[in-house]
Amino acid sequence: MTSKTLFFKLIKQDVKKRVWCPIIIFLGYFLAFEVNMLRMIGRIEERTEYTYALKDILEYVEKVLFGSNVKAFAVLACLAAFLCAVSGFSYLHSRVQLDLYQSLPANRTQTFLAKYVSGVLQFFLPFAIHVVICMGIAAGKAAFSGVVFGNAIKMVGVVSLVFLLSYGMCLMAVCLTGNIIISVFGCIVLFFYSSVVSVLTSSLFQTFFPTYMFVSIEGNGLDYTPYWRFSPVSMLVDLFEPRYTGAFRDDTYFRYNADCLWKVAAAMLVYTLIAYVLYRKRASEAAGKAIAFWWAESVIKTMLVLPAALMAGLFFREIAPEKGVDTWYLFGVVFGFALAAVLLEIIFRLDIRGALCHKKQFVFNAACLAVIVLVLRFDVLGYNTYVPADSELESCAVSLEGLMSVSPAKSSGYGRTVWYTYIGTTDYRMGNVKLQGNPSVMDLARKAAKEQLTYEGDDEAQKDYKAVAFGYNLKNGKHIYRMYTVDMADAQTKALVADIFNDSSYKTGTSPMLSDGWKKEYRKLYGVGTFGAADLDMTPEFQAKLLETYQEEYLQLDFDTVLDTYPVGCFSLLTDEEYQADLDWRHGARYDRYDGSLIYPQFTKTIALLKEHGFDVYEMVDMEDIDFINVIYCKENMEFDGEGVSYVSYDYVEVGSVYDAAQQEELLNQVINTDYGWQVRNYADIVDGDFEISIHSKTDNEALQRKFDFKKGQIPQFIYEMEGYQKAME
C-alpha cells in the first residue's frame, strides 16, 4: 500500500473514531455564527441594537460579524484546539491503545501527520462551513460586499492561525505527559504560563524595586515588555490588543496586530515541531506515567514550584498588616513552596506516598528560591542603583513626570462604538524622546540612582519630590527603564532637570504634535483660550505654518518660565478619523484634553497666527452676558478608618454666587481655565485647587460652560468673606 493511500485512510479512521469532536465544534460555531447573527439581524431590523450602534445589516456583517467578533471566534478556536489535541492524541496515555496502534504497519511520522491533519480538518471544516453559511445569509439579506468577503477570508486566516498555535501547544502538552488528567493540566499551564510569569515578575519588581517601571509601548524599535511572551494567551493579547495605535490596521473594526502574525506563525511551527519530536521520541512505556520524559519532570517542577512560591509570598504580603509584611511574605514563600512541591510530587507519582520523593530536587528548588528571594529583597544585583556607562548608551529617553503630561490619542472600542483613549504619557515619551550628547541627562540619572529617594506621602519635607522616568537605549539594542524620585528643592537637581527640559530633543519628543504632526493631515483645531473656545478648519498651509511657528516658540521656552508662568490657552489638532469619532460622541469622549499643546503668553507669533484664523486666546467674556459666577470650596478632610489608616476625602461646599459686576471682573482676572490648568497644576505650584469656579451666562453661552481654578495666592479677598466660605471653615 502506498504511504499516500494509507495516510488518507488513517485520516478517515481518525475522524470516524472521534466524530463527536467535529460535531461539538460545529455546534459551538453554530451558536457563535448563525444563531448570534440572526439574533443581531433581528435586533438591527427592530432598531433595538444599541451595543454597536449599527446602521444596517451590511455594517454588522462587515464590521462586527467578520470583524470585531474575531476575538470570540479565536477563543472558540483555542477550545477546539484543546479538544482536537486531547481527543486525537490521548491514546498515547493508554497502554492497550498503544499496543494496537504501534504494532500496526504505520510508522510514527505517518500516524502523527494523519492525526494532526485530521484534527485540523475537524476544526477547519465546521468553521469554514459556518462562515460560508453566514455569507449566504448575508447575501440573502442583501448585505454582502467585497469588503465582507475580504474580511471573512482575513478572519478565517487569523482564527485558523490561532487554532494552529493552540493546537501545537496542546499537542506538546499531550505528548509530554503520560496521563490524560496531567495532560489537561499541562495544556492549561502552557496556555497561561508566560502571562502569569510576566504578571508575577512585574508584581515582584514593583514590590521590591522602587525604580521599576512597566513600559507598555510597541513600535519605534522598543520592546514593550521584557519577557518572552511564548504562551498562546500572551500571544493572543499581543495579536488582538496592541498597545500602540500605530500597530493597528486602518480598519478600526477588524483589529489585529499584523506585525504579530508572523510571531504567531513562527511559534505555531516551533510548537508543532516540538510536539512532533516529542511524539517520535516518546517511549510507549510512558503511557500511564505523569510525565513521559524523565528529564522533563525536574524542569517542569522547578518551573512551577518557584512561581507558585513567589505568588504565595506576594499574596500573604498583600493581606498582611503593614508592619509585618516581610515576615508574612517569607511565610507565604515557604508555605507556597512546600505546598506546591509536595502537591506536584503527589501528582507526578499519582500516589500520596510520593510526597517526599526527590529530596535532592526539593533542596535544589529551595536553594533557587532562596536566591531569588534574597536578590529581590536586598537588591543584590543592584537593580535600583543600576545606571549604564555613557559608553554603553545609544540614547536616553526621559520623562519629567507631570510636566506637560500630554500624549497622543488612540482609538479603542468595537464596531461603531469607537472612542479615543490616550497612550500613557510616560510610555509615549519612552518611545519618542531620544536624548544624546546632553551630560545633564546621565548626571541626573546617576544622582537619582545614588540618592535613592522614595516618596512616602504627605511629608512636608518631600513636597518638592518629583518622579523622573529614564529609558536607557543601549548600543546592544536593549532598552532598560527606571523611575527615580528627585528632590526639586535641591538646586543641583533642579538645574539638571532644567537642562533636560531645555533640550530641544526633549521638547519635540514629548510633544505628540511636534513629533508626529508633520506626518499627519489634520482636519480640525480645537482651541481653548482664557475664557473662550474655538473650532477651526485646518488647511495644509495653516497646519504647516502653525507647526512651524509653535515649534519655534516652544523650543525657546525655558524651564523657569514654565514654573512661574500661567499659560493663556491650549489647542489640539484632530485628524479626520478623530474628528468623526468626536462627532459620534458629541465631543464627550474627548472633553478632557490630554493632547492639548499649551500656549504661553511668550508665544506671540502663535497667538497672532491663531487670531488671524479666528481664534483669539485672550478673548474676554462679555461681562454683560454673565448672570452670576458660582464658587465652590473643595474642603479636604483627613479621615481615619477603623484600623487607624488615614485617607483624604473632599466635601464640595457651596461658597456662594457672585452677582456684583466689579467683583465678577476682579474674580475673572485671577482664574485659570481648568481645560489646561490641570497641566500646570501637575507640576508648578502656581494654581490653587481649593476652589471650583463656574460662569453662568444669561444666554446659555456654551463657550463659557467651563470650570476655572484660582491662580495661587490671588484669591480675591471677598471670597474669604463670603458666608459659605465662613461656614465651610467652621
Partner: protein
C-alpha cells in the same frame, strides 16, 4: 524467521527482559511460557515493534521491527488486553485492520465469524472475554500476516474453541507461510498447540526446545529386575535423569532414543520393562530440574 539477540528492556528500575536470545523458525507454533512478570508480554511487544529494546536487536525476516512498516506488515499482534475501537462491531474492526493489512481477507473473515457464531454487526463491547479473544484470533488469521503474536490469547478459552482455533492454525500452517507465537503462563494450555517452546523466567530465557524432539529424547520407563546386580548393571548403561523406586518397581526418567534404552534394559533380562508416555509437564520438570530449577514453582 524471528531472531532475538541479547535483547534487554528495563522499565524504570525493573528489568523486564534481560539478555534474551531466541530464534523462532518459520512454520512452527512457538510457545512462550513464563510466570506473570517473566517478560513474555514485553518480549512480544518488542517483537512486534511497540517497544524498542534498550539493547540487543530483534530481527523479523532479517529486518529490524521498530518503526519498520515492511516488517510490521507481516506481524499481527494480539495483546493480553486487546483494544477494540469505541462502539465498533467485528465488521468495523475488520475494516479497520483492512486499511493496514493489504492482504486482509474480508470474505474469509465473514465466513469464520459465521463458523464461530459471532455476530458481525454486534458491538464488541457486548462480547464476553472469550468471544473477544476468538474475534482477535479471527482478525489475526484473516490479516494473512506471516507472524501472529498472541499474548495469553488462549488462556481461558473453552476446549471446543481451543480445538477450533487449533484447527484453523493447522490449516493456515498447511496452506501458507505462517508462524504463530503464543505466550502463556500455563504450559498445559500450549501442550497441544505448540511445536516448540521457550521458557522465560525473571526476564531471561531458561530454555528453548522443540517439543517433538524433547518427547523423543526423554522417556519414562517402569521396570523390575530379578536381582539388584541386574538392576545396577542396567541402570549403569542409561542416562537416567530421575529415578524412583517403590519395592522392586523402578520408575526411571531416561534420556535417549527409546529403542536404544529398551535394548539396554532387555540385555539384563528384566521381569518387565515398559515405556510410559510423559506429559509435557513432566518433560519440563525433568529438563529444568537438570538445569537446577524447580520448574513447578515457575510455571504450574
Amino acid at each position: 524467521m524471528i531472531t532475538a539477540t541479547h535483547i534487554s528492556k528495563k522499565f524504570d528500575k525493573t528489568q523486564a527482559v534481560k539478555d534474551v536470545s531466541v530464534s523462532i523458525k518459520n512454520g512452527e507454533v512457538f510457545g512462550l511460557i513464563g510466570t506473570n512478570g517473566a517478560g513474555k508480554s514485553t518480549f512480544l511487544r518488542m517483537a512486534c515493534g511497540v517497544l524498542k529494546p534498550d539493547s540487543g536487536e530483534i530481527l523479523v525476516d532479517e529486518q529490524k521491527v521498530y518503526e519498520n512498516n515492511t516488517a510490521k506488515a507481516e506481524i499481527f499482534y494480539i495483546s493480553d488486553d486487546q483494544y477494540f475501537l469505541p462502539n465498533a462491531t467485528p465488521i468495523d474492526m475488520a475494516d479497520f485492520y483492512k486499511d493496514y493489512y493489504v492482504k486482509f481477507d474480508m470474505a474469509r473473515f465473514r465466513d469464520l465469524l459465521g463458523k464461530f457464531q459471532l455476530e458481525g454487526r454486534r458491538k464488541v463491547t457486548t462480547f464476553s472475554k472469550g468471544m473477544k479473544k476468538q474475534l482477535s484470533v479471527l482478525l489475526g488469521v484473516c490479516a494473512n500476516t506471516k507472524y501472529m503474536f498472541c499474548d495469553e490469547t488462549f488462556d481461558g478459552l473453552d476446549p471446543m474453541m481451543r480445538q477450533a482455533v487449533k484447527s484453523i492454525f493447522a490449516g493456515e500452517l498447511a496452506e501458507r507461510d505462517f508462524t504463530p507465537v503464543i505466550a502463556s503462563h500455563n504450559l498445559r494450555e500450549l501442550e497441544d498447540i505448540c511445536d516448540s517452546v521457550g521458557i522465560l523466567h525473571q526476564g531471561g530465557v531458561l530454555m528453548q526446545k522443540d517439543l517433538e524432539e524433547m518427547k523423543l529424547n526423554i522417556h519414562n520407563i517402569q521396570c523390575v529386575f530379578h536381582t539388584p546386580e541386574d538392576e545396577a548393571a542396567a541402570l549403569e548403561g542409561l542416562e537416567v535423569v530421575n529415578a524412583e523406586k517403590r519395592g522392586s518397581l523402578n520408575t526411571l526418567t531416561v534420556r535417549g532414543k527409546i529403542e536404544e534404552i529398551m535394548a539396554g534394559i532387555n540385555l539384563h533380562n528384566p521381569v518387565f520393562a515398559e515405556n510410559i508416555s510423559l506429559t509435557l509437564e513432566e518433560i519440563f520438570i525433568s529438563e529444568t530440574e537438570v538445569a537446577g530449577y524447580d520448574i513447578k514453582n515457575l510455571i504450574f
